[in-house]
């Protein structure tokens, strides 16, 4: 019992030591000749333009919200899928009704233009 914890403690120590050592040794050995171009922000080799804290279009958020709801609802489908072979007909139909409800939501979002990108 206690031994397990010792291993976990050792593991944490080693995992802290390795990256720390790599960074420190590199910083200690590497030659340093900074200039203006080297210190500038690196973004795919292209010079950055404007402020990085820009606002995204609201369309992203609507997509994200719709995605969030549909994504999380799958939590009910996993147990259903895993236990599928042992389920009664009623349970299968229940999941179908659940999917129909989600489809109704999708139709609503679609018709309201939440999926339109303009």
């Amino acid at each position: 019992m206690v031994n397990d914890w010792v291993y976990i403690g050792l593991f944490i120590l080693i995992s802290l030591f390795l990256p720390a050592a790599a960074i420190l040794i590199a910083g200690w050995l590497a030659p340093k000749k900074p200039n203006k171009i080297k210190n500038s922000t690196y973004e795919c080799g292209i010079e950055t333009v404007g402020d990085t804290w820009v606002q995204f279009r609201v369309q992203y958020y609507i997509y994200a919200l719709v995605f969030l709801v549909f994504d999380v609802e799958t939590v009910f489908l996993y147990p259903w899928a895993v236990a599928y072979r042992q389920l009664t007909l009623f349970a299968v139909l229940e999941a179908v009704v659940f999917l129909l409800l989600l489809a109704g939501g999708l139709i609503y979002a679609w018709k309201k233009g939440a999926l339109q990108w303009n």
């Binding site: 609201v58 958020y61 999380v72 609802e73 939590v75």
Partner: protein, 102 residues
């Protein structure tokens, strides 16, 4: 195995961190994050009780799935309200919403 009381203490700490965040923060998104932490604490609590004491029945586990899904729906609505308020007013600091007074 880790004793049950440790997990309960952890969930209690998480709940109070969330509670503090929800009360002390000014930004609406931060408040929402605090509330989510509280809900996560509830889930850890339920899961610990289920696993250690009542794993014979599935009701605790089912409850967690329900909490999970409902929390997502609630967050979606909340974020939509926050975005709507932001587009209109350019701020989501709770203290700036003070047009209603009496």
């Amino acid at each position: 195995m880790i004793p049950l009381s440790w997990i309960l203490a952890f969930s209690l700490a998480l709940f109070f961190i969330g509670l503090f965040g929800a009360i002390a923060r000014k930004n609406a998104i931060s408040i929402l994050m605090g509330i989510e932490l509280m809900l996560n604490a509830v889930n850890i609590n339920l899961l610990a009780f289920w696993r250690y004491l009542y794993s014979a029945h599935m009701n605790g586990l089912v409850f967690i799935a329900v909490v999970f899904a409902v929390a997502a729906a609630e967050t979606a609505v909340g974020l939509a309200l926050i975005i709507s308020a932001y587009r209109n007013r350019r701020t989501i600091t709770a203290g700036d919403f003070d047009s209603l007074k009496g």
